[in-house]
Amino acid sequence: MPTEPTDDIEARLRLDHARAIHWDRTRRMSLLLLAVWLATGFGTVFFARELARFEVFGWPLSFYMAAQGASLVSVTIIAIYAWRMRRLDRDYHAALAPRP
């Protein structure tokens, strides 16, 4: 049966391609989210003395960021990650689904 090997190769290529795209997107998104995390976590502490002049809801900004802000950003980052990864997983399965 001469057609089967080509099918196999084609399926293999499609799988590799879908995986590569999925991994590429995952990596890019992780990197972006980590950059946000780094800026809010370490950035606000580094410039804490300068930021103490500003005020949010009664707190000095640097105190607020250290006590609540950075942690809230972290939990948001994790939520966005879980939500986006679910989308990426779905796209991956859609790309692999047998075409009509």
């Binding site: 502490v45 804490a48 009664g58 250290a66 950075a70 994790i78 879980a82």
Partner: protein
């Protein structure tokens, strides 16, 4: 019963669990009301303490008995069917240790802005867990962290990754053991303070509940107990804080309310800083510090003179037929006098520093990095950043937390579970800075300035709990009959336990807070003991010693090892080892330096091979340990021997990069990893 195809959660199961825990929470509320009524009827305080202690310990034991199992998957990873939300709750209880529940708010009270490093570090690390590690561990779907590393890196005899596994197991045990000793120590402390039983008896009471639970049901029992424990510790932490919040800010949500209180606290701080009476007290402390400094400078003559003086005082007291009390005092002064010149030097230097510390004006709570000079301020900022760094990277490498990635039904559920974990942790962690500010405001406004003849009862109670190292001390230094801030000292460990009394709540809430502290310590101890015994039974016994062991035998061995480890840990804790307790903060640095580089590079860099992994783990660990030994006076180093002024506790700031760098360099210098390892990386990266 329908199963969701993406999440793998059976719908009815989740509903059933939610119903159980709602019933449980309702029953717990009823229990609280009943005890409150009993208190009204005049039940003594000690009994309330007993009631909370034994009722909660019995509860955890019952859950353990109900969830008993001998099935391998159930025992090691709770059958991989814990829904994300409950897994998050259990991980949060696992995470919130005795230190965060009992001491963190007190630490923030004492350290102000600097203390926030712990809030940031212990929450921000979950971003690393969620993005870099947990989903990939779940995709791999084995049992322990060393499992993952061994499969990823291979090497050793037959390419089974023996050396990598052995190193990872050692790191797991070392880190978890120091941590578990501290938890068991806290159990003993809480039990002895609230029920009056002996410290060691308290330890073994707590141990009994840990054992019934983990011994019978492994991960499965621990998970469901931890959910129950989380609910107790959440209620216990929120009620007194909300009470204080209503009292001072007319707002029951402390996380929001304390923003309005912070400017008032800052104003009060400024007022106290310029108060002449405060200055008087501080001057007295400075005088005492100078006195000790002078005695140290005059050693060894001052030691001889002091000894003679103490002997003469005693003889004089006896000669003039002084009162028994005076004679006893003179006797004590002589018996506690330092035995040698060296002892005298250590003791007097310690006293000099203690007095100097109290002679300093209080730092404003909300001001970041106050310092005399720009350099001093910069150094504090750098240390803040370093501590945050170590706690974050340590979090992402703690085996008892990572182990939890295996217990959910799917990769997606693991991602969601990390979200719930941080969510439930934040319910407590966002309250901790609020409690610190609320308690500080209360003490600064109602205690400071009050009359010595009308001190509240909680002060005398907590001042007398531990006579050797008073948890609270207050004395009229300048003799004006009024409490000055500088005359009041409080230990970080007592703030949360005393909060209900500071706020004027009934004793039932104090009992609840003690039960909460106990739940925090027990839940963490449970998770850690299981991490240790799994490492020993699964990784050492099954994977390295006897690969042919039957599943029944594996679970039995695991249970026996758990028993042994628990008793060793309890024995060590009952010796009150100061060194180990000071090492706990170091556990994060060690975990981060040793395990984080190999975990992350294992997923994200295919070229990393087993020689790189082995040298990376060894180097990260060695650099971290070397720096601690070098710069920590508690471990025999010199506090001045630092690199860039970084505290020894934050040694991970050197260890993590050293580990990462070594893995990369050594991997590049040695041959590529096998095709099996590349295939495995492809597999864990691919979606389900």
């Amino acid at each position: 019963m329908s199963t969701n195809p993406v999440t793998g959660v059976r719908h009815g199961y989740f509903k059933k669990l939610s119903r159980y825990y709602l019933w449980y929470t309702g029953a717990f509320a009823l229990f609280l009301v009943a005890v409150a009524l009993l208190e009204q009827e005049g039940m003594p305080r000690l009994w309330i303490g007993y009631l909370f202690m034994f009722a909660t310990i019995a509860l955890y034991a019952v859950i353990g008995v109900i969830c008993r199992t001998s099935n391998v998957t159930e025992y090691y990873v709770a059958g991989r069917r814990v829904p994300a939300m409950f897994n998050g709750m259990a991980t949060a209880a696992d995470w919130i240790s005795a230190a965060s529940f009992i001491s963190l708010a007190g630490g923030l009270y004492l350290q102000g802005f600097d203390g926030l490093a712990f809030i940031m570090g212990w929450t921000g690390g979950f971003v690393l867990v969620a993005l870099l590690i947990a989903p990939y561990l779940r995709k791999f779907a084995q049992y322990t962290v060393p499992d993952f590393l061994a499969a990823r890196y291979g090497g050793g005899t037959g390419g089974r990754g023996g050396p990598v596994r052995a190193l990872a197991v050692s790191a797991t045990i070392l880190v978890s053991f120091t941590y578990v000793v501290a938890q068991i120590y806290a159990v003993g402390l809480i039990a002895s303070r609230f029920t009056g039983v002996d410290f060691s008896v308290g330890i073994f009471l707590g141990l009994a509940s840990i054992l019934v639970c983990s011994f019978l049901g492994g991960m499965r029992a621990i998970t469901w107990t931890q959910v129950a424990q989380y609910i107790i510790l959440l209620v216990a932490f929120l009620i007194p804080t909300m009470w204080l919040s209503v009292k001072h800010a007319d707002n029951p949500i402390p996380q929001v309310a304390y923003g309005s209180l912070l400017p008032k606290l800052t104003a009060r701080e400024a007022e106290l800083a310029n108060d002449p009476r405060e200055a008087q007290v501080r001057a007295e402390f400075l005088r005492r510090a100078d006195g000790y400094a002078a005695r140290v400078a005059a050693l060894p003559e001052s030691w001889e003179a002091g000894k003679l003086d103490a002997q003469r005082q005693l003889a004089a007291a006896r000669a003039r037929n002084a009162s028994l009390l005076e004679v006893r005092q003179a006797e004590r002064a002589l018996t506690t006098y330092p035995n040698s010149v060296d002892d005298a030097r250590t003791l007097w230097l310690e006293r000099r520093d203690a007095n100097l510390a109290r002679a300093r004006p209080p730092e404003p709570h909300a001001q970041p990095f106050p310092g005399a000079t720009q350099e001093a301020s910069d150094e504090r900022r750098n240390n803040f950043l370093a501590v945050v760094f170590c706690l974050m990277f340590g979090t992402a490498a703690l085996p008892h937390i990572l182990m939890r990635a295996y217990t959910t039904p799917s990769v997606h559920e693991t991602r969601v579970s990390v979200f719930w974990t941080l969510f439930f942790i934040l319910l407590i962690y966002l309250t901790i800075p609020a409690l610190a500010v609320l308690a500080k405001y209360d003490i600064y406004t109602s205690l400071v300035g009050s009359d010595f003849s009308a001190l509240p009862t909680w002060i005398s109670y907590w001042a007398n709990v531990d006579k050797a190292n008073p948890l609270i001390s207050v004395a009229d230094i300048n003799g004006d009959g009024i409490v000055q801030l500088a005359e009041f000292a409080i230990d970080a460990d007592v703030l949360v336990l005393a909060t209900p009394e500071i706020g004027g709540l009934p004793y039932v809430i104090s009992g609840l807070v003690a039960a909460g502290g106990l739940a925090a310590a027990l839940s963490t101890a449970d998770g850690l003991l299981l991490a240790i015994s799994n490492a020993l039974s699964h990784d050492v016994y099954y994977k390295m010693v006897e690969p042919g062991a039957s599943t029944q035998k594996r679970v039995t061995i695991s249970k026996l090892l758990l028993l042994a480890v628990a008793f060793i840990a309890a024995y060590v804790a009952s010796q009150k080892p100061a060194d180990i307790l000071s090492l706990v903060a170091a556990a994060f640095s060690l975990a981060g330096s040793t395990l984080f580089p190999v975990l992350v590079l294992g997923v994200f860099w295919k070229r990393a091979n087993h020689i790189g992994a082995i040298s990376g783990m060894v180097t990260g660990f060695a650099v971290c340990l070397y720096y601690m030994l070098r710069a920590s006076p508690a471990l025999g180093g010199n506090a001045l021997d630092t690199w860039f002024g970084i505290l020894p506790m934050a040694a991970g700031v050197f260890g993590v990069p050293a580990g990462l760098f070594t893995v990369v360099v050594v991997s590049l210098l040695t041959p590529r990893p096998s095709r099996a390892s590349a295939g495995m990386v492809d597999y864990i990266r691919a979606p389900e």
